[in-house]
Symmetry: C2
Subunit: 250 residues, 2 copies
């Protein structure tokens, strides 16, 4: 079944007016017909709306609501990923995978060892690009909400944001030995709570950054015995949350 995101303003009573690129996709690529069902989300809550196609106009597909499904596909922990800006296209992969694995927000962070520096205009353009990738990944993985990609922050801003907005705050650090605290911190995360994850760029964190984070209550954890690339680290922590909260009986 086709899954699309629409703006709530396109929904009027029981009718939905699909416009833009989705029209061509429905009419000419998938060649859907009146009566066919599509799955619709607004990306603003977890609901899935099922509509039946009713009619076609030149620029719109008119659909009628069949039913609304309260979804349960979101990770039960709200994860804010603070990702040290990596080189080149790596951030594209990170955004795609973080969305697939359930992150709630992605915040690129200009860290000391980030090679890429984004100025004003580039910042906005790149953020827009990542947001588009996040939307595509949300659609593909059947997320109920589209995660927000924020404009890059400095490390200081990121630490402040994490402290103000999240209850648990973790920072995978390759020099952290596992002394039992990683497992303990993971097991302490409660369903329904919020979590910040700080990931260093290719060159890792500078010790001063780890120190600053630790003083603000952002605690180092170990991701196992091998050296992970920057784009792999967030996937590991998100996978751990899936294991903790989406396996086993509720």
């Amino acid at each position: 079944m086709l899954h699309i995101f629409v703006d709530p303003s396109q929904m009027q009573g029981d009718l939905l007016h699909v416009s833009g690129g989705d029209v061509n996709h429905i009419k000419n690529v998938l060649r859907l017909k009146p009566g066919d069902e599509i799955s619709v989300r607004t990306g603003q809550d977890e609901r899935e709306y099922r509509y039946g196609i009713e009619a076609f106009t030149d620029s719109e597909v008119i659909c009628r609501l069949r039913f609304v499904k309260e979804a349960d596909v979101e990770l039960p922990v709200k994860v804010y990923l603070f990702q040290g800006l990596p080189k080149a296209d790596k951030m594209d992969l990170i955004v795609q995978k973080a969305v697939e694995l359930g992150a709630a927000q992605i915040i690129p962070v200009q860290m000391r060892r980030s090679i890429v520096k984004l100025d004003g205009a580039k910042k906005a353009k790149r953020t827009q690009r990542w947001q588009t990738i996040a939307e595509a990944a949300a659609k593909q993985s059947r997320r109920a909400v589209v995660p927000l990609v924020r404009e890059p922050m400095s490390m200081e801003e990121a630490v402040r944001f994490a402290v103000q907005n999240t209850e648990t705050r973790l920072l995978p650090y390759e020099l952290q030995e596992e002394d039992g605290s990683t497992r303990e911190l993971m097991e302490g995360i409660r369903e329904g709570s919020s979590l910040s994850i700080f990931i260093g760029p290719e060159g890792g964190f500078e010790p001063g950054e780890v120190e600053m984070a630790r003083e603000a209550g952002i605690l180092p954890i170990s991701l196992g015995r091998r050296i992970l690339r920057t784009e792999t680290a967030a996937m590991v922590v998100l996978s751990w949350l899936i294991y903790r909260f989406e396996t086993g009986l509720a």
Copy 2:
């Protein structure tokens, strides 16, 4: 410190003869000097050898053994990844990430919904390419051994191989609801044992393949509530093993 892989034949008594591309890297890129230390592995066992540079010839770097370190960087479960052949370059990413996260062997599998079909000559060439990626990823992530990438098998061969060689055999399947069995199966994996993981290609498994696997004792598991891309699935299971075996106190 520089980490390189050598063939055991390059080690003679206490001396090591470094040749090939590493020579230029040592002399002209890193500009190492006599007395500098390098880290050496053969990729055939978990040992790390530390050598001091002794002298340079035109084509070799001669080094003297300082000490041998018994390493403990390998995942304590031997993971065989049976990956349904994906499109284009996706297998490159899968090999890189699986090696980073600790897989022991990678076996591409020609599944029914695999779009790519590899014939004799191409099979060997691709396998060689993936093996090269595995070696680079092993070096980067400081693995003690270089995982083997086997030539693609058919699904039937893969099932037989898994049954003969591994104690636990799992198959992530998007139609599998988590009824508690995923967590139970994961917790049943013992340290020091061997595990097969079967991952479908982009289009997923055909129901007949899942049935054949199940009859052979390869059990379906759920990877959470969202739809994962083929290249993400193996990373999730490997991350779970890291959580189980490399966090917490031994």
